[in-house]
Each structure stands twice: as structure tokens, then as C-alpha cells.
Symmetry: C2
Subunit: 604 residues, 2 copies
């Protein structure tokens, strides 16, 4: 099936191709003979997927679209303060080649006009044996994700006919804004304007800005996030020359155009857009570039005001552990104590990207917890990105919980948050699954409120909760038919596909059950402890073991063998009947537990 | 527990209270005697939760913070085109009371300077018997969520000493930018500047802008989203007077300040911020207002570039229905056919807010589906907000799927998407639960690839898959002990808390099982059809029914009563044994199904 987005872009391309206004840039002779009908649109997502229509592999000179990237490099080289001392960040309200220097100081209004771009170029360092221009070219190439090169012809032509830029360079030198010989600065500036790109390159450069400075295809961190933030801020107010306000109103994305016919726009976190079409409007921006940007912003809701709806849904649920008990079978007294104290252990399920608003929702919930809540579990399995502010809030929340005598646990298989908390001096209990965290809560509640009810470390099969429905004699009789087995950490006890071989009662230690997920990787399902059973799963539909069961540490088991069960069915049907009844009851206890978890999920 | 956010704001408040620069506004005599030490900070989330520190209930005049709200009202009254003809949207680079009119036309540069605000006021309509000013005051009040009023003293003082604004009004009249008598316009302008607010009011006004024009507490849609978008765009470039660029760089949120000492900033979708502190800097903005905005933007990562990371995680999973079968027990042939064709039915699980990037991820996955996929289920239960562009993409995707001969179904209990698709001419099958959608897929696959295997509409208990493990005679024997029952749509068959009363076999029709979720509302769990059983759940841990079972349409059932089972256990243990074995097997088939769903979720 074709992509509706491709179809949409093809339609927009066909419509806007009808727009014949404007003239290609003619002041530089080497650029005068482009085909005015060339027209390409590329939309690249922040994760690097590309949609392209039209002449997207046609090369042209980058011209002023170089400015934000050189500015970014200057910020990375010199730091914000040093760059700010030389170049301001205010829209000039003037056109791109205006000589907008501040009265008295000569400081250019911003780095998107020629004076500011010349100054930014002068601030760059040569490094690692590379000349200044080599570094510029390498940086642009890293943004684009392929090696770019310079058109010597356009460079020579610019050098010859760019009188105004020569004048600007010397003027900036006269104000000591440029502190070195301006001639090589001017040359490097002309060279960077003459770097050849196509619309695909520009879209990847924009997508790299959208992706917080990391090229989504090469995974190269080309520019730090603080510099990206500054570059996009200046693009937002100064990128479209004297059009800043109407651009912000009609497009609402940081952008930059160049007289070579290119236009880029960036929606942080979402997309990079590039358009190539040489005919320019009176501001020196591509007529079709502006039209496509406006159209896409409107149709795809890319304006920063519309695109900024996020984090609302960070807190997916908040409930106590009574809602999703661990499913461990306990004595009646222990079960009653847990029921009475379940409200003391609370699970918060979080979701999506945790920016300020999401972290705030979590913290708000934590602050409103009843006084008698003593255990808090943050389930972070559905959390994607955790911002710095969210990590700081986790830390503050953890220390405040600690002060009020509460314990915090985290369900997070990736483990970024537990690591950050430990670094911040707030180590927390971390679990891979929710049921493990709930089990921890239950043990902790038993320890705090009913120490005598904590499950013993070793349980004889006759005392197994699964056999509780049997009369004492029958349980003892069954226990006598079992064989004892021992396993070491990591041993596989049951394998997927094996036939039913009996019911296994855990006497001491733990086992882990695993199952392949949709992508084929094995995922951890449950950790079972003393008193629990397994092996009955092979009684299900396929009559084969559906999970792998592995020893998690040293384990001792009692097995009631399948052959022994068959023999009983034959010779002692009343005993077998009691066993099957108990197993049915045990199975439905598990079904109940899963249904409770489902109910939580459905209501989310 | 106190909130870490409150603590943080208290710390910032204490720190920035040390900043003693600036002087309160003194040009209007009635405003000259404010206490320069008054200092309040209010942070309101887009859902209306409020954090406040300091003097947040102290009243002061709104002054220029009125401008964006009056501009918004003008846009709503007249439409964008008519307003744009009178007021531009470009930053002027001048200070707030500069006479920035375009040469020749007299058109003000933007609505955030006095000339533009006077013009916007002149464009407002009186309506519904309300004077122009009454409408202004009502609109501000709706934004704030409480009735505001005017300080007559400040109004009179402004009227007497605001010579420059009188001049501006007549000048605008001379250019025909204001088309009516300027005197009442000037009066209404002064009145709106004299509206008294506190920091809490301003924060709610800002939060209403952040919440797309809807006051989050009163739920009143005060301004349409298109006008909000425009207002915030102009605030972004022109809200802080001649400081637009450095504000965008250092704060990165649309904002507005007033000489009364107020400052607001808006992060769309997340927060509204208000600060009150009278001493002003040289631009006429509150010194502490600027400092707090910069500090919070940095610490809480509120800059639009950092806050714009969203939609990355929209596609949570994509797998075929073999991964999470419906759990309906079928004949061996039917089960084999479904296993062989499971890859033809694909489930896409979506998550969070569906903005462009999220919708794009979905569409990308749809476009890349293998040719042999014929059924597509979009699971939207975890989706929060669906943007207009996402709805349009759903429509396009649905029609492209239809063209390629595929069927689309949606799991969405709220049902916004199915409704929008139906409106767009693409009605889809909509289900409340994933298992219902999977059941639909399975029936559809059977219909397409094995018509003879479709489950009959009526199933006798002896043919029930649950009894398949029994030998034919035993099954027949059991069937003879059952009683037939009929229920009508909506009848409650089993209630939560009832004791085990037997096993129910569905002969024809469907039942729905329900369970209370964490918040107490009943959620739908499963829809069961002919051949399936229920009632055994009451065998679980509490020995009580854990779910409510309701007839979904007319239903006929066969019940094997609990007393009959007890009698069998006593008198015919071998038959009872066969029953319990079958029930155990059935139970573990369900456990398997839940484990498979768990594995999908864990891997998400």
C-alpha cells in the first residue's frame, strides 16, 4: 500500500507547482542559469524516515541556510557568552543583505543576517589539524549524513561579485567585532555559502536539529542540545528576515531560507522539512518554499502552538496493590492481613515522554497520597523519554518520601531512573515486572504489620496453598507420591513445547517463567516462590508447555509425576478428583488475577 | 507530603526576592504608590492545577497584558483577514509606547504595542445588548474564571495623563485605521488597562491559552484554537517589546508583560505562568518577572524547543492475532486454519497523543504491511488526544486499505475515531475490547479461508469445546444433567459475590463479563459466545463470583448445577474426575491466553 503522506505531498507538489511567481537569484553570475521549474519537497521525521517528491536530488548552493549551522558550531566552539558578546539575537526587521550593525558597537543584530554570519565564521576554531573551513564542511556533512562538497565555480563567482560582503567584513573588522584579518573570514564565508546540497540533504540537516542535534540515521551527536535550542530560537525570530512575525503566525516553525532556492523548517521532536525551488520573492525567500511551508504547517498541524500538546496523559493510573495482587497463595490469615493493608501500598503507572507536565502529574499524585500509604511503586515500563527535569523531580520525590518514612520502588526494565536515583543518593528497589514489585510490597506489609505471617522460606508440599482445599489426609497421601528435585541458578526446569510431566511444588527458592514476545525475544513473566506451583500450564489447549521455567537462584522442588496422577485416576478416583478440583481452583485464582490486571488496563 | 514543585517555587521566590533592581511605573499617578516588595509566582497547569508562592492574591492593574486578550477577541469577532488589514504581526523593535505606524498606511506593526491595541479595541463589536467594554470585561473574566472589575481610580488617572495614547488614537483615526470616533475607543482602551487582576487570575488566563482556549476549571471555551494560535504567535515575536529575540532565546515561551508589574508566559499544552512584581526594567517589563521566567524555563525545561518532544512513542506495538488469540475454543481443524492464517490479521497498538508524528508512524506501518495482510485492527484504547491531522490520516488510510481489499477495525471505547471515519465515508467495525476485535478477525479469517469451519450459531453442550477432552458417552451423560435457561438482552445472569452455582455452557447468543476497575466503574472484560463457558470463576480464591455476567442480546444457556456436580462426586467419582480434568484444562487455556497478552505488554 502506498503511504497517504506520500500521496498528500504529491498533491501539494502538483498544486504549488502552478505557482510561477518570482525570479531565481541573479546577482551571482554562476547561479543565474538554474532551471526555475526545479521543485522538490522532502519531509524527514525526527527518527529519520524520509518522504520525498519531485526534484529532491538536484544540487544547488546552500547559501544562507548555512548560517544556522555555522552559528551552532560557533556556539559549541566558544560558548554562548563569548558569541553573544559579538552577535546579538534580535530580529533586525531588515532584509538579508542590509548592513544592520548596532550604533556605536557595530554588533550585528543576529547571526542569520550576513554581518552576523561573517562574525560567527570568524569565531570558529581550526582543530585537530583541520582548517576552519574543513571543520565547517565536516559539520554540515555530519548534519546531512553524507560528505558534501563546494562548488568552486560558485565560490569564485561569489568572491568576485560579493562586494557588499567584502565591505561588511572590513566594517566588522573596523569595529573589532571581527578580530582577525577579515580576508580569509570572507573567503570561508563565501565557501560555506557555496556548499552544494540537495533537498534530501537539507531535510536531514533539519531533522538533525529536530532530533536535538543527533543525526537520526548516523546516530552522530552533531551539536549539543543547548546550542540547538539557541539556534532554533534565533531561526524562529530571525530566520525569515523581515518576515519574522508573519512567518511565526502562518508557519510557526523555526526556519531558514537561502537565495539558492532552498528552505528548511524544523518542528522540534517531530520533523525537518526542506523545499527546493529557485524563484525568489522580494525578501529573497523561495516563493514555493514559503507556500509549501505554510500549507504543510496548516494541513499537518505543525505550528508550535498546535504541536505542543504533550504530557497530559503521563499518569495512566494510580491504585493500591489490592487491585492487582501478586497471585501468590498465602495462608488465610496472611491473605486477610494483606487485604486489610493493601491501601498502604500504591502503584502509579506512568506513560509516554516525561517532560515537565508529566513529571508534575506524578509529583502531584505523590504529594496527595494519604498519610497511611507507606510503599509507593512507580511503574515506568511504558515511559519513553525521561527529561532532565523529570529525573530531578524523581530525586526530590524520593527524598521527600524517605523523609516521611516511606519506601519507593520502581518497575523499569531499562533502568535509567533507578540509576539516576542511585546517583542522586536515593537508591530504590527496582523490579523488572509489576508482579515482582507487588510481591515485594506484600512481603514488606507482612513484615511491618504481621511478622509472624511471613511465608517460611521452606514449604513442604503438604502445606502448599494449592493443596489447601484437600483434606489433611489426602494432602499427606499426595505428598508421599512426590519426588524431590534440586536445581541450580539458571538451570532450565521446563522448556516450551514439552508435554505435561506433572505438577511441580516449589519447596524453597524461586523460579522465573519466560515466554517469547511478539518480536521473538523472551520476556520475563512471573517469578514464583516457595509454596507456588507450575507445570500445569502444559494442560492447556496445545497440551504442551507454553513457558520456559528457569531456576532463579538455587531451588528445591517436589514433583507429582504425570504417571502417578494417571495411576491415581485409575485406582483411586476419589483422591484424583480432589487433586483436579484443587488444581481447577488454583487455575481460576490465576485467571482472576489476570482479569484484575486487565480491568486496570482497560480503564486506564 | 509537600510537593517538590512547591518547594522549588519557594526556593526560586526566596532567591529572586533578593533582586532589587528597577522602579515601579510612575507615569500614572494612581499607580505610583504600590509596594515594590510585593512578589508572587503562580504556575497553573493546562488542566488547572495551581502552585502559588508569595503575594498571589494582591490586586494590580492588568495594563498591557490586556492586549493579547483583546486581540484574540477582535480576531474572533472579525476574522483574521479583516484584523490583519488593520494591524500587522511584525515585531517593531521599538518600545511599548513608541508610535510605530507603517509609513504611508499608518498600520500598526502589531497588536502588542499601544497603537495596535487601540486598533484592536476599535474592531470589537458590542453584542447581545452588551456594550463593547462589557464584552471585553466578560472575556477577561471568562479567561480568569472569576468576575473581574475595573479600578475607576486608575482609569480616571490614565484618562487624564495618557496624552500619548490620546494622540495615537487620533493619529490612527487620521489614517482611517480606526474608522469610528476615537474618543470612546481610547476610553475603552484605558478601561481595559485598568482591569484589576491578581497573579492567580493571570496564571489562569495563561493556562486557558495553554489549554487551547478552554478554561480548564470552568471548562468554558473562551477563544477558538485558530485565534489562540495567532495570539500566541504574536506574543512569541512581539510580546516582550524590543526584547523579542533574547526572550525567545532565554525563555522560549510566548509571553506578555504589563507596567502594572504583571508578566505571563504560556507553554502550549503544558502550563501558564504568572509573576507579579512591580519594579520595571528599561523595557517596561517587571525585573523579577523576567528573572522568574528565565529561571523556570531553564530549570523546568519549558523552552518550546525542549518541550516539543512528543509523539515518538505513538506506535506501541504491531503484531498478528496469533500472538493474542481470542481464547475461543474451536475445533482442531478451525484452530489449525487460524494458526496458518494468523499473519493475515494484524493489530497495531497506538498510544498517547496522536499529533502529526504519531499519525505518521501509524501510516508508515500500514504502508509497509505485507501484501497478504487482509485485516487490520487499530487498538486506540491508550490514545488520548487525536488531532485533526491524525483523523484525516485515519480517513485516508481507511480508504487506501479499502482500495487494496482490506478491512479495518478499531478498538476504541470512546469511539471518536470510528465516528470520524463514518463521517468521512469509511465506516469501520468498532469494538470495545481487543479480544472482541480478535474474535471478529478470527471469524472473518474462517469465513474467507475455511467457510465450512465457522462455528455454528447454536451449540449443544455435548459439543462444547470445553467438554472435548471427555469421551463421547461421558459428555452425553453430563449434558443430560443440565438445565436449559433463557435470558433477554441486558439480564444479569451472574452477580459479583455469588457463590459457585454450576458451570454455564452458552448454547446461542453472547454474554458480556464485567468487573469494577480501580476507580469503581464497571469495565467490560470479555464477550463470550456459543460453545464457551462461564461460572467457574466462582471456584477461585474467594470461592465467590468475581465478575458480573450479562446477556448481550438474547441468550440460551445450559447449566450444570453445583448440586449435581456434588452428587456426581459422591456417586460417580470417575465421571466427576473427567469433568474436573476438562475444567482444569479449560482454565489453563485461559491462563495461557492472558500470559500471551502479558508478554505482548511487557515487550511493548
Amino acid at each position: 500500500m502506498d503511504s497517504p503522506i506520500e500521496h498528500y505531498l504529491q498533491r501539494i507538489h502538483a498544486e504549488i507547482a502552478g505557482l510561477k511567481d518570482g525570479q531565481p537569484y541573479s546577482s551571482i553570475p554562476a547561479m543565474a542559469h538554474v532551471d526555475p521549474d526545479h521543485f522538490g519537497i522532502v519531509l524527514a521525521t525526527a527518527d529519520g524516515y524520509v518522504y520525498e517528491v519531485g526534484d529532491t536530488r538536484e544540487e544547488f548552493s546552500i547559501q544562507s541556510i548555512s548560517k544556522p549551522f555555522t552559528y551552532g558550531l560557533a556556539l559549541a566552539d566558544r560558548g554562548m557568552e563569548e558569541v553573544d558578546a559579538k552577535v546579538d539575537v534580535e530580529p533586525s526587521g531588515d532584509s538579508f543583505n542590509e548592513i544592520s550593525l548596532a550604533e556605536g558597537t557595530g554588533r550585528p543584530a543576529n547571526a542569520m543576517i550576513n554581518a552576523g554570519a561573517l562574525t560567527a565564521t570568524s569565531l570558529l576554531r581550526g582543530a585537530g589539524g583541520n582548517s576552519r573551513f574543513k571543520r565547517i564542511l565536516n559539520t554540515y556533512s555530519a548534519f546531512a549524513g553524507r560528505q558534501l562538497s563546494v562548488s568552486e565555480r560558485i565560490y569564485q563567482s561569489e568572491l568576485k561579485s560579493g562586494h557588499r560582503n567584502h565591505a561588511l567584513g572590513y566594517l566588522l573588522r573596523s569595529f573589532d567585532i571581527i578580530e582577525s584579518d577579515p580576508a580569509p573570514v570572507i573567503q570561508d564565508y563565501f565557501r560555506q555559502c557555496s556548499v552544494m546540497v540537495n533537498a534530501l540533504d537539507l531535510a536531514m540537516m533539519a531533522a538533525t536539529l529536530a532530533n536535538a542535534g543527533r543525526n537520526p540515521l548516523t546516530n552522530d551527536q552533531v551539536l549539543d542540545i543547548a546550542s540547538v535550542e539557541r539556534v532554533l530560537s534565533v531561526m524562529a525570530t530571525c530566520g525569515m528576515y523581515d518576515d519574522a512575525g508573519s512567518w511565526m503566525s502562518s508557519v510557526g516553525m523555526p526556519a531558514k531560507s537561502g537565495v539558492g532556492g532552498g528552505t528548511i523548517a524544523v518542528l522540534p521532536g517531530q520533523i525537518g522539512l526542506a523545499v527546493y525551488s529557485p524563484p525568489l520573492d522580494g525578501h529573497g525567500s523561495s516563493v514555493r518554499g514559503v507556500a509549501v511551508s505554510q500549507r504543510l504547517s496548516h494541513d499537518l498541524e505543525l505550528h508550535f502552538v498546535r504541536a505542543g500538546r504533550t504530557g497530559k496523559s503521563a499518569l495512566r493510573g494510580s491504585y493500591d496493590i489490592g487491585t492487582t495482587p501478586s497471585g501468590i497463595r498465602r495462608s488465610e490469615d496472611a491473605a486477610a492481613l494483606l487485604r486489610a493493608n493493601a491501601h498502604r501500598a500504591r502503584i502509579l503507572e506512568l506513560n509516554g515522554d516525561l517532560l515537565f507536565a508529566g513529571a508534575e502529574a506524578m509529583v502531584r499524585e505523590l504529594a496527595s497520597l494519604e498519610d497511611d500509604v507507606v510503599l509507593v511503586v512507580l511503574d515506568l515500563r511504558s515511559v519513553d523519554e525521561v527529561s532532565g527535569v523529570a529525573l530531578r523531580m524523581f530525586n526530590e520525590a524520593a527524598s521527600m518520601l524517605a523523609v516521611s518514612g516511606r519506601q519507593l520502588a520502581v518497575v523499569d526494565s531499562a533502568g535509567d531512573v533507578p540509576a539516576a536515583l542511585a546517583e542522586g543518593g536515593q537508591p530504590v528497589a527496582a523490579f523488572g515486572t509489576r508482579s515482582a514489585a507487588v510481591e515485594w510490597c506484600e512481603e514488606e506489609l507482612l513484615r511491618r504489620y504481621g511478622a509472624d505471617l511471613v511465608q517460611p522460606e521452606r514449604i513442604l508440599p503438604a502445606d502448599s496453598p494449592a493443596l489447601a482445599p484437600l483434606d489433611a489426609e489426602a494432602a499427606k497421601d499426595l505428598a508421599g507420591r512426590m519426588e524431590e528435585l534440586s536445581y541450580q541458578d539458571g538451570d532450565v526446569i521446563r522448556r516450551i513445547g514439552q508435554r505435561f510431566s506433572g505438577v511441580y511444588f516449589i519447596a524453597s527458592g524461586h523460579v522465573q517463567t519466560l515466554m517469547p514476545g511478539p518480536s521473538g525475544h523472551r520476556v520475563k513473566l512471573n517469578r514464583l516462590g516457595a509454596g507456588m506451583t507450575f507445570g500445569e500450564m502444559a494442560l492447556g489447549e496445545d497440551k504442551r508447555q507454553e513457558t520456559t521455567v528457569k531456576a532463579d537462584g538455587d531451588v528445591t522442588l517436589w514433583r507429582l509425576p504425570a504417571e502417578e496422577i494417571s495411576r491415581m485416576e485409575e485406582n483411586e478416583p476419589r483422591l484424583a478428583l480432589q487433586l483436579w478440583r484443587a488444581l481447577t481452583q488454583d487455575a481460576y485464582t490465576r485467571v482472576e488475577q489476570y482479569l484484575r490486571e486487565t480491568a486496570v488496563r482497560v480503564e486506564d
